[in-house]
Amino acid sequence: MSDLKQTPLNAAHRALGAKMVDFGGWDMPVQYPQGIIAEHLAVRTKVGLFDVSHMGEIRVQGPQAMAFLDWLTPNAVARLAKGQIHYTAFLYENGTFVDDLLLHKISDDEFLLVVNASNIEKDFAWVLEHATAWQVTVTNESDATGQIALQGPLSLAVLQPLVDIDLAEIKYYWFAFGKFQGLPVMISRTGYTGEDGYEIYCPAASTESVWNAVVAQGQPLGLMPTGLGCRNTLRLEAKMSLYGHEIDDTTNALEADLGWIIKLQKGFFLGRDELLLAKARGLTRKLVGFQMREKRDIARDHMNVLIDGQVAGYVTSGAPSTTCGVNLGLCYVPLAAAEIGTRIEIEIRGKACEAEVVATPFYKRAK
Protein backbone atom coordinates (compact mmCIF):
# COMPACT_ATOMS: atom_id res chain seq x y z
CA MET A 1 0.00 0.00 0.00
CA SER A 2 2.76 2.45 0.98
CA ASP A 3 4.60 1.46 -2.21
CA LEU A 4 1.79 2.78 -4.38
CA LYS A 5 2.27 6.11 -6.07
CA GLN A 6 -0.21 8.85 -5.26
CA THR A 7 -1.59 11.73 -7.28
CA PRO A 8 -1.87 15.21 -5.71
CA LEU A 9 -5.58 14.43 -5.16
CA ASN A 10 -5.18 11.34 -2.98
CA ALA A 11 -6.47 13.05 0.18
CA ALA A 12 -9.33 14.66 -1.76
CA HIS A 13 -10.49 11.24 -3.01
CA ARG A 14 -10.43 9.78 0.48
CA ALA A 15 -12.36 12.77 1.83
CA LEU A 16 -15.01 12.09 -0.85
CA GLY A 17 -15.29 8.47 0.33
CA ALA A 18 -13.66 6.93 -2.74
CA LYS A 19 -12.84 3.26 -2.88
CA MET A 20 -9.13 3.19 -3.69
CA VAL A 21 -7.42 0.44 -5.68
CA ASP A 22 -3.97 -0.39 -7.01
CA PHE A 23 -4.11 0.66 -10.65
CA GLY A 24 -0.80 -0.15 -12.33
CA GLY A 25 1.13 0.84 -9.22
CA TRP A 26 -1.01 3.91 -8.48
CA ASP A 27 -3.41 4.34 -5.56
CA MET A 28 -6.46 5.48 -7.53
CA PRO A 29 -10.23 5.90 -6.97
CA VAL A 30 -12.16 3.12 -8.71
CA GLN A 31 -15.46 4.62 -7.59
CA TYR A 32 -17.03 7.05 -5.15
CA PRO A 33 -20.02 6.25 -2.90
CA GLN A 34 -22.52 6.85 -5.74
CA GLY A 35 -21.18 3.78 -7.55
CA ILE A 36 -20.09 2.97 -11.09
CA ILE A 37 -23.55 3.01 -12.70
CA ALA A 38 -24.52 6.42 -11.29
CA GLU A 39 -21.11 7.81 -12.21
CA HIS A 40 -21.33 6.38 -15.72
CA LEU A 41 -24.76 7.98 -16.22
CA ALA A 42 -23.58 11.31 -14.79
CA VAL A 43 -20.94 11.51 -17.52
CA ARG A 44 -23.43 10.55 -20.26
CA THR A 45 -26.19 12.93 -19.13
CA LYS A 46 -24.55 15.67 -17.04
CA VAL A 47 -20.91 15.87 -16.10
CA GLY A 48 -18.25 13.85 -14.28
CA LEU A 49 -14.81 14.76 -12.97
CA PHE A 50 -11.88 12.35 -13.18
CA ASP A 51 -8.46 12.57 -11.60
CA VAL A 52 -6.07 11.53 -14.36
CA SER A 53 -2.95 12.97 -12.79
CA HIS A 54 -1.38 9.52 -12.97
CA MET A 55 -1.07 9.93 -16.75
CA GLY A 56 2.45 10.77 -17.93
CA GLU A 57 3.62 13.96 -19.65
CA ILE A 58 6.75 13.89 -21.79
CA ARG A 59 7.91 17.13 -23.41
CA VAL A 60 9.99 17.07 -26.58
CA GLN A 61 11.69 20.32 -27.55
CA GLY A 62 14.32 21.46 -30.02
CA PRO A 63 14.84 22.40 -33.65
CA GLN A 64 14.24 18.82 -34.79
CA ALA A 65 11.31 18.05 -32.49
CA MET A 66 8.76 17.80 -35.30
CA ALA A 67 10.98 15.74 -37.62
CA PHE A 68 11.95 13.44 -34.74
CA LEU A 69 8.36 12.76 -33.70
CA ASP A 70 7.28 12.25 -37.31
CA TRP A 71 10.01 9.59 -37.52
CA LEU A 72 9.19 8.05 -34.14
CA THR A 73 5.37 7.85 -34.36
CA PRO A 74 2.97 6.64 -37.09
CA ASN A 75 0.52 9.55 -37.34
CA ALA A 76 1.28 12.62 -39.49
CA VAL A 77 2.94 15.04 -37.07
CA ALA A 78 3.88 17.38 -39.94
CA ARG A 79 0.20 17.91 -40.68
CA LEU A 80 -0.67 19.16 -37.19
CA ALA A 81 -1.29 22.84 -36.62
CA LYS A 82 -0.07 24.70 -33.55
CA GLY A 83 -2.61 24.02 -30.80
CA GLN A 84 -3.79 20.78 -32.38
CA ILE A 85 -3.70 17.25 -30.93
CA HIS A 86 -3.74 13.81 -32.43
CA TYR A 87 -4.00 10.26 -31.16
CA THR A 88 -0.94 8.21 -32.02
CA ALA A 89 1.38 5.52 -30.68
CA PHE A 90 4.91 4.40 -30.04
CA LEU A 91 5.46 1.26 -32.10
CA TYR A 92 8.17 -1.36 -31.94
CA GLU A 93 9.94 -2.22 -35.20
CA ASN A 94 7.58 -5.20 -35.50
CA GLY A 95 4.53 -2.91 -35.55
CA THR A 96 3.25 -3.77 -32.06
CA PHE A 97 2.65 -1.23 -29.31
CA VAL A 98 5.03 0.29 -26.82
CA ASP A 99 2.09 2.52 -25.85
CA ASP A 100 -0.64 4.76 -27.25
CA LEU A 101 -0.64 8.49 -26.57
CA LEU A 102 -1.96 11.95 -27.32
CA LEU A 103 0.49 14.24 -29.08
CA HIS A 104 0.01 18.01 -28.57
CA LYS A 105 1.73 20.47 -30.89
CA ILE A 106 2.68 23.59 -28.95
CA SER A 107 4.96 24.87 -31.76
CA ASP A 108 7.19 23.45 -34.50
CA ASP A 109 9.87 22.86 -31.89
CA GLU A 110 7.80 21.93 -28.84
CA PHE A 111 5.42 19.00 -28.31
CA LEU A 112 3.75 17.50 -25.26
CA LEU A 113 3.12 13.74 -25.27
CA VAL A 114 0.56 12.35 -22.83
CA VAL A 115 1.10 8.65 -22.13
CA ASN A 116 -0.35 5.88 -19.98
CA ALA A 117 0.53 5.90 -16.29
CA SER A 118 1.73 2.30 -16.22
CA ASN A 119 4.09 2.95 -19.15
CA ILE A 120 5.72 6.25 -18.13
CA GLU A 121 9.19 4.84 -17.40
CA LYS A 122 9.16 2.57 -20.46
CA ASP A 123 7.95 5.36 -22.74
CA PHE A 124 10.41 7.93 -21.43
CA ALA A 125 13.28 5.46 -21.92
CA TRP A 126 11.93 4.67 -25.42
CA VAL A 127 11.88 8.31 -26.49
CA LEU A 128 15.28 9.06 -24.93
CA GLU A 129 16.88 6.00 -26.52
CA HIS A 130 15.72 7.05 -29.98
CA ALA A 131 16.43 10.76 -29.52
CA THR A 132 20.22 10.48 -29.33
CA ALA A 133 20.79 11.23 -33.02
CA TRP A 134 18.37 14.17 -33.03
CA GLN A 135 18.63 17.75 -31.81
CA VAL A 136 15.91 17.44 -29.20
CA THR A 137 15.55 17.64 -25.44
CA VAL A 138 13.23 15.13 -23.80
CA THR A 139 11.81 15.82 -20.34
CA ASN A 140 9.62 13.61 -18.17
CA GLU A 141 7.29 16.10 -16.45
CA SER A 142 4.87 13.49 -15.13
CA ASP A 143 5.48 14.04 -11.42
CA ALA A 144 5.30 17.81 -11.73
CA THR A 145 2.01 17.78 -13.65
CA GLY A 146 -1.56 17.30 -12.47
CA GLN A 147 -4.38 16.46 -14.84
CA ILE A 148 -8.12 16.30 -14.38
CA ALA A 149 -10.75 15.38 -16.96
CA LEU A 150 -14.15 17.05 -16.97
CA GLN A 151 -16.43 14.94 -19.16
CA GLY A 152 -20.07 15.15 -20.16
CA PRO A 153 -22.52 17.47 -21.91
CA LEU A 154 -22.37 20.10 -19.14
CA SER A 155 -18.56 20.32 -19.13
CA LEU A 156 -18.43 23.67 -20.85
CA ALA A 157 -21.06 25.18 -18.57
CA VAL A 158 -19.15 24.08 -15.48
CA LEU A 159 -15.69 25.12 -16.61
CA GLN A 160 -16.32 28.38 -18.48
CA PRO A 161 -16.92 30.61 -15.41
CA LEU A 162 -13.59 29.45 -13.94
CA VAL A 163 -11.27 30.25 -16.84
CA ASP A 164 -10.19 33.28 -18.86
CA ILE A 165 -10.37 31.64 -22.29
CA ASP A 166 -13.40 31.04 -24.52
CA LEU A 167 -13.86 27.27 -24.26
CA ALA A 168 -16.35 27.08 -27.13
CA GLU A 169 -13.51 28.25 -29.38
CA ILE A 170 -11.45 25.16 -28.58
CA LYS A 171 -12.43 22.53 -31.16
CA TYR A 172 -12.39 18.79 -30.54
CA TYR A 173 -8.76 17.63 -30.30
CA TRP A 174 -7.37 21.16 -29.94
CA PHE A 175 -5.99 22.86 -26.82
CA ALA A 176 -5.19 26.29 -25.42
CA PHE A 177 -3.28 27.89 -22.57
CA GLY A 178 -5.07 30.10 -20.10
CA LYS A 179 -5.70 30.95 -16.47
CA PHE A 180 -7.93 29.01 -14.14
CA GLN A 181 -8.83 31.43 -11.34
CA GLY A 182 -5.42 32.98 -11.90
CA LEU A 183 -3.53 29.66 -12.07
CA PRO A 184 -1.75 28.80 -15.34
CA VAL A 185 -3.34 25.78 -17.05
CA MET A 186 -3.46 24.01 -20.39
CA ILE A 187 -6.95 22.97 -21.47
CA SER A 188 -7.65 20.46 -24.22
CA ARG A 189 -10.95 19.36 -25.69
CA THR A 190 -10.27 15.66 -25.35
CA GLY A 191 -11.30 12.74 -23.22
CA TYR A 192 -11.65 9.02 -22.84
CA THR A 193 -15.40 8.65 -22.44
CA GLY A 194 -17.04 9.31 -25.80
CA GLU A 195 -18.54 12.54 -24.43
CA ASP A 196 -17.70 16.16 -25.01
CA GLY A 197 -15.34 17.47 -22.37
CA TYR A 198 -12.09 19.08 -21.37
CA GLU A 199 -8.86 17.92 -19.84
CA ILE A 200 -7.06 20.41 -17.64
CA TYR A 201 -3.29 20.22 -17.10
CA CYS A 202 -1.73 22.21 -14.27
CA PRO A 203 1.29 22.16 -11.98
CA ALA A 204 0.98 19.33 -9.45
CA ALA A 205 0.79 21.83 -6.59
CA SER A 206 -2.29 23.55 -8.11
CA THR A 207 -4.22 20.37 -8.82
CA GLU A 208 -6.19 20.25 -5.59
CA SER A 209 -7.30 23.91 -5.90
CA VAL A 210 -8.42 23.31 -9.48
CA TRP A 211 -10.24 20.08 -8.53
CA ASN A 212 -12.02 21.68 -5.57
CA ALA A 213 -13.09 24.70 -7.61
CA VAL A 214 -14.52 22.51 -10.39
CA VAL A 215 -16.36 20.32 -7.86
CA ALA A 216 -17.88 23.39 -6.16
CA GLN A 217 -18.85 24.97 -9.49
CA GLY A 218 -20.30 21.74 -10.87
CA GLN A 219 -22.25 20.36 -7.95
CA PRO A 220 -25.35 22.53 -8.51
CA LEU A 221 -25.38 21.19 -12.10
CA GLY A 222 -25.19 17.56 -10.99
CA LEU A 223 -21.44 17.02 -11.30
CA MET A 224 -20.17 13.83 -9.72
CA PRO A 225 -16.58 12.84 -9.02
CA THR A 226 -16.07 9.80 -11.22
CA GLY A 227 -13.62 6.93 -10.83
CA LEU A 228 -11.68 4.53 -12.98
CA GLY A 229 -14.51 1.97 -12.87
CA CYS A 230 -16.85 4.05 -15.00
CA ARG A 231 -13.95 5.41 -17.03
CA ASN A 232 -13.46 1.86 -18.26
CA THR A 233 -17.12 1.22 -19.11
CA LEU A 234 -17.42 4.64 -20.79
CA ARG A 235 -14.34 4.15 -22.97
CA LEU A 236 -15.46 0.63 -23.87
CA GLU A 237 -18.83 1.92 -25.14
CA ALA A 238 -16.92 4.48 -27.21
CA LYS A 239 -14.53 1.73 -28.40
CA MET A 240 -11.42 3.51 -27.24
CA SER A 241 -8.46 1.17 -26.83
CA LEU A 242 -6.86 0.48 -23.47
CA TYR A 243 -3.19 -0.47 -23.35
CA GLY A 244 -2.81 -3.98 -21.92
CA HIS A 245 -6.23 -4.95 -23.31
CA GLU A 246 -6.91 -4.08 -26.98
CA ILE A 247 -3.31 -3.10 -27.66
CA ASP A 248 0.02 -4.30 -26.31
CA ASP A 249 3.35 -5.66 -27.49
CA THR A 250 1.67 -8.65 -29.17
CA THR A 251 -0.94 -6.79 -31.25
CA ASN A 252 -0.08 -4.79 -34.34
CA ALA A 253 -1.68 -1.46 -35.06
CA LEU A 254 -3.54 -2.62 -38.18
CA GLU A 255 -5.24 -5.61 -36.59
CA ALA A 256 -6.14 -3.36 -33.62
CA ASP A 257 -8.35 -1.44 -36.09
CA LEU A 258 -6.17 1.65 -35.67
CA GLY A 259 -5.24 1.94 -39.32
CA TRP A 260 -6.44 5.55 -39.20
CA ILE A 261 -3.43 6.59 -37.09
CA ILE A 262 -0.99 4.67 -39.31
CA LYS A 263 0.07 7.03 -42.10
CA LEU A 264 2.00 4.57 -44.26
CA GLN A 265 2.25 7.08 -47.11
CA LYS A 266 4.07 9.75 -45.06
CA GLY A 267 7.46 8.04 -45.32
CA PHE A 268 9.53 6.24 -42.72
CA PHE A 269 8.45 5.85 -39.12
CA LEU A 270 9.33 3.22 -36.56
CA GLY A 271 7.29 0.08 -37.25
CA ARG A 272 6.36 1.09 -40.82
CA ASP A 273 8.39 -1.59 -42.62
CA GLU A 274 6.80 -4.41 -40.71
CA LEU A 275 3.29 -2.93 -41.04
CA LEU A 276 3.76 -2.65 -44.82
CA LEU A 277 4.73 -6.32 -44.90
CA ALA A 278 1.81 -7.27 -42.67
CA LYS A 279 -0.54 -5.39 -44.96
CA ALA A 280 0.91 -7.09 -48.05
CA ARG A 281 0.62 -10.52 -46.41
CA GLY A 282 -2.94 -9.74 -45.34
CA LEU A 283 -4.14 -9.47 -41.76
CA THR A 284 -4.96 -12.71 -39.98
CA ARG A 285 -7.15 -11.28 -37.24
CA LYS A 286 -8.98 -8.12 -36.32
CA LEU A 287 -10.39 -6.35 -33.29
CA VAL A 288 -14.21 -6.26 -33.42
CA GLY A 289 -17.08 -5.37 -31.15
CA PHE A 290 -19.61 -7.97 -30.06
CA GLN A 291 -22.86 -8.12 -28.16
CA MET A 292 -24.00 -11.03 -26.01
CA ARG A 293 -27.39 -12.52 -26.89
CA GLU A 294 -28.53 -13.21 -23.32
CA LYS A 295 -28.65 -10.78 -20.42
CA ARG A 296 -27.27 -13.51 -18.16
CA ASP A 297 -24.06 -13.81 -20.17
CA ILE A 298 -21.44 -11.20 -19.40
CA ALA A 299 -18.13 -11.50 -21.22
CA ARG A 300 -15.01 -10.49 -19.34
CA ASP A 301 -11.41 -9.74 -20.29
CA HIS A 302 -9.31 -12.74 -21.43
CA MET A 303 -12.24 -15.11 -22.08
CA ASN A 304 -11.97 -17.28 -25.19
CA VAL A 305 -13.87 -16.58 -28.39
CA LEU A 306 -15.18 -19.80 -29.95
CA ILE A 307 -16.07 -20.38 -33.58
CA ASP A 308 -17.47 -23.82 -34.47
CA GLY A 309 -16.50 -24.92 -30.97
CA GLN A 310 -12.83 -24.07 -31.45
CA VAL A 311 -10.90 -21.31 -29.69
CA ALA A 312 -10.52 -18.62 -32.36
CA GLY A 313 -9.63 -15.51 -30.39
CA TYR A 314 -9.98 -13.75 -27.05
CA VAL A 315 -11.93 -11.01 -25.36
CA THR A 316 -9.84 -7.88 -24.74
CA SER A 317 -12.52 -6.03 -22.76
CA GLY A 318 -16.01 -7.06 -21.76
CA ALA A 319 -18.67 -5.61 -19.46
CA PRO A 320 -22.35 -4.88 -19.08
CA SER A 321 -23.06 -1.59 -20.86
CA THR A 322 -24.93 0.89 -18.70
CA THR A 323 -25.86 3.13 -21.62
CA CYS A 324 -26.88 0.43 -24.09
CA GLY A 325 -28.46 -1.97 -21.58
CA VAL A 326 -26.75 -5.01 -23.08
CA ASN A 327 -23.54 -6.92 -22.42
CA LEU A 328 -20.77 -5.81 -24.76
CA GLY A 329 -17.16 -6.45 -25.48
CA LEU A 330 -14.23 -6.20 -27.83
CA CYS A 331 -12.33 -9.23 -29.06
CA TYR A 332 -9.85 -10.46 -31.61
CA VAL A 333 -11.27 -12.83 -34.22
CA PRO A 334 -9.92 -14.31 -37.47
CA LEU A 335 -10.53 -11.96 -40.40
CA ALA A 336 -13.16 -14.32 -41.81
CA ALA A 337 -15.28 -13.80 -38.68
CA ALA A 338 -14.91 -10.01 -38.52
CA GLU A 339 -18.01 -9.18 -40.60
CA ILE A 340 -20.82 -7.46 -38.74
CA GLY A 341 -23.54 -10.01 -38.03
CA THR A 342 -21.17 -12.96 -37.66
CA ARG A 343 -22.27 -15.37 -34.92
CA ILE A 344 -19.56 -16.15 -32.42
CA GLU A 345 -19.52 -17.68 -28.97
CA ILE A 346 -17.79 -16.54 -25.81
CA GLU A 347 -16.63 -19.21 -23.38
CA ILE A 348 -17.94 -18.11 -19.99
CA ARG A 349 -16.92 -20.41 -17.13
CA GLY A 350 -16.75 -23.40 -19.42
CA LYS A 351 -20.01 -22.68 -21.25
CA ALA A 352 -20.26 -21.51 -24.87
CA CYS A 353 -22.50 -18.40 -24.87
CA GLU A 354 -23.98 -16.86 -28.01
CA ALA A 355 -22.77 -13.49 -29.25
CA GLU A 356 -22.79 -11.49 -32.47
CA VAL A 357 -20.24 -9.19 -34.09
CA VAL A 358 -21.76 -5.69 -34.12
CA ALA A 359 -20.84 -2.24 -35.40
CA THR A 360 -18.70 0.03 -33.24
CA PRO A 361 -18.53 2.37 -31.48
CA PHE A 362 -21.32 0.93 -29.36
CA TYR A 363 -22.16 4.44 -28.24
CA LYS A 364 -21.84 7.68 -30.13
CA ARG A 365 -22.98 10.96 -28.67
CA ALA A 366 -25.50 13.12 -30.51
CA LYS A 367 -23.69 16.13 -31.97
Binding site: K19, V30, Q31, G35, I36, I37, H40, G229, N232, T233, K295, R296, I298, R300, A319, P320, T322, R349
Partner: protein, 128 residues
Protein backbone atom coordinates in the same frame (compact mmCIF):
# COMPACT_ATOMS: atom_id res chain seq x y z
CA UNK B 1 -22.12 -4.45 11.73
CA UNK B 2 -22.47 -8.15 10.89
CA UNK B 3 -25.65 -9.73 12.32
CA UNK B 4 -24.93 -12.17 15.16
CA UNK B 5 -27.74 -14.52 14.11
CA UNK B 6 -25.89 -15.40 10.91
CA UNK B 7 -22.71 -17.38 10.21
CA UNK B 8 -20.09 -16.49 7.62
CA UNK B 9 -17.58 -17.98 5.18
CA UNK B 10 -14.09 -16.81 4.29
CA UNK B 11 -15.46 -16.35 0.78
CA UNK B 12 -17.90 -13.71 2.12
CA UNK B 13 -21.20 -15.58 2.01
CA UNK B 14 -23.58 -15.53 4.95
CA UNK B 15 -26.11 -18.11 6.12
CA UNK B 16 -28.90 -17.19 8.49
CA UNK B 17 -30.73 -20.16 10.06
CA UNK B 18 -34.44 -19.43 10.54
CA UNK B 19 -34.94 -21.97 13.36
CA UNK B 20 -37.18 -24.36 11.39
CA UNK B 21 -34.45 -26.29 9.58
CA UNK B 22 -34.26 -23.72 6.81
CA UNK B 23 -31.83 -20.86 6.25
CA UNK B 24 -31.31 -17.78 4.06
CA UNK B 25 -28.07 -17.49 2.09
CA UNK B 26 -26.50 -14.40 0.54
CA UNK B 27 -23.30 -12.42 0.17
CA UNK B 28 -22.11 -10.04 2.89
CA UNK B 29 -22.11 -6.25 2.83
CA UNK B 30 -18.33 -6.47 2.58
CA UNK B 31 -18.61 -8.62 -0.55
CA UNK B 32 -21.13 -6.39 -2.29
CA UNK B 33 -19.08 -3.31 -1.45
CA UNK B 34 -15.96 -4.89 -2.92
CA UNK B 35 -17.82 -5.86 -6.11
CA UNK B 36 -19.62 -2.58 -6.72
CA UNK B 37 -22.93 -2.25 -8.58
CA UNK B 38 -24.48 -5.70 -9.07
CA UNK B 39 -26.20 -6.15 -12.44
CA UNK B 40 -27.09 -9.84 -12.61
CA UNK B 41 -27.42 -12.86 -10.35
CA UNK B 42 -27.35 -16.42 -11.65
CA UNK B 43 -29.12 -18.75 -9.21
CA UNK B 44 -29.76 -22.54 -9.21
CA UNK B 45 -33.12 -24.27 -9.61
CA UNK B 46 -35.48 -24.92 -6.75
CA UNK B 47 -34.90 -28.54 -5.71
CA UNK B 48 -31.17 -28.57 -6.47
CA UNK B 49 -28.96 -29.88 -3.66
CA UNK B 50 -25.44 -28.76 -2.87
CA UNK B 51 -22.69 -29.79 -0.51
CA UNK B 52 -21.07 -27.29 1.85
CA UNK B 53 -18.55 -25.27 -0.14
CA UNK B 54 -20.09 -26.18 -3.49
CA UNK B 55 -20.63 -23.42 -6.06
CA UNK B 56 -24.32 -22.66 -6.50
CA UNK B 57 -24.36 -19.45 -8.52
CA UNK B 58 -22.64 -16.27 -9.65
CA UNK B 59 -23.06 -12.59 -8.89
CA UNK B 60 -22.06 -10.22 -11.69
CA UNK B 61 -21.27 -6.56 -11.08
CA UNK B 62 -20.33 -3.92 -13.63
CA UNK B 63 -16.66 -4.57 -13.12
CA UNK B 64 -16.36 -8.16 -11.98
CA UNK B 65 -17.99 -11.55 -11.37
CA UNK B 66 -17.95 -13.66 -8.21
CA UNK B 67 -18.76 -17.34 -7.86
CA UNK B 68 -20.78 -18.04 -4.75
CA UNK B 69 -20.52 -21.15 -2.62
CA UNK B 70 -23.06 -22.67 -0.29
CA UNK B 71 -21.95 -22.19 3.34
CA UNK B 72 -23.70 -25.36 4.56
CA UNK B 73 -25.13 -28.39 2.74
CA UNK B 74 -28.79 -28.22 1.76
CA UNK B 75 -31.56 -28.24 -0.80
CA UNK B 76 -32.80 -25.09 -2.52
CA UNK B 77 -36.35 -24.23 -1.41
CA UNK B 78 -36.79 -20.76 -2.79
CA UNK B 79 -35.01 -18.16 -4.91
CA UNK B 80 -35.15 -14.42 -4.36
CA UNK B 81 -36.88 -13.71 -7.68
CA UNK B 82 -37.03 -9.98 -6.85
CA UNK B 83 -33.34 -9.82 -7.79
CA UNK B 84 -34.17 -10.40 -11.46
CA UNK B 85 -35.64 -6.92 -11.70
CA UNK B 86 -33.67 -5.45 -8.80
CA UNK B 87 -30.12 -6.81 -8.59
CA UNK B 88 -29.24 -3.56 -6.78
CA UNK B 89 -31.02 -4.90 -3.69
CA UNK B 90 -27.77 -6.76 -3.01
CA UNK B 91 -25.91 -3.47 -2.81
CA UNK B 92 -28.63 -1.71 -0.86
CA UNK B 93 -29.44 -4.40 1.68
CA UNK B 94 -27.30 -7.53 1.36
CA UNK B 95 -28.58 -9.13 4.58
CA UNK B 96 -32.19 -8.13 4.03
CA UNK B 97 -33.94 -7.88 0.68
CA UNK B 98 -30.70 -8.84 -1.10
CA UNK B 99 -30.78 -12.47 0.09
CA UNK B 100 -30.13 -15.01 -2.69
CA UNK B 101 -31.67 -18.37 -1.83
CA UNK B 102 -33.51 -20.16 0.95
CA UNK B 103 -32.38 -23.72 1.66
CA UNK B 104 -33.45 -26.68 3.76
CA UNK B 105 -30.36 -27.56 5.80
CA UNK B 106 -29.06 -31.09 5.34
CA UNK B 107 -28.15 -31.99 8.91
CA UNK B 108 -26.23 -29.74 11.26
CA UNK B 109 -24.86 -26.35 10.28
CA UNK B 110 -21.32 -26.57 8.87
CA UNK B 111 -19.07 -26.32 11.99
CA UNK B 112 -16.31 -24.53 10.06
CA UNK B 113 -18.37 -21.36 9.59
CA UNK B 114 -17.26 -18.14 11.28
CA UNK B 115 -19.39 -16.25 13.78
CA UNK B 116 -19.93 -12.51 13.36
CA UNK B 117 -16.96 -11.54 15.53
CA UNK B 118 -14.53 -13.84 13.72
CA UNK B 119 -15.85 -12.67 10.34
CA UNK B 120 -15.48 -9.03 11.30
CA UNK B 121 -11.86 -9.74 12.18
CA UNK B 122 -11.29 -11.42 8.82
CA UNK B 123 -12.75 -8.43 6.99
CA UNK B 124 -10.66 -6.01 9.04
CA UNK B 125 -7.53 -7.93 8.03
CA UNK B 126 -8.51 -8.10 4.35
CA UNK B 127 -9.38 -4.43 4.03
CA UNK B 128 -6.28 -3.27 5.87
Amino acid sequence: MYPADAKYTKNHEFIKPLGDGTALVGITTYAQDAMGDVVFVDLPEVGDSFEAGEEFGTVESVKTVAEIFLPSAGEVLELNTELEAHPEYINEDAFGKGWLIKIRLAGELNPELLDATAYEQLVAEESH
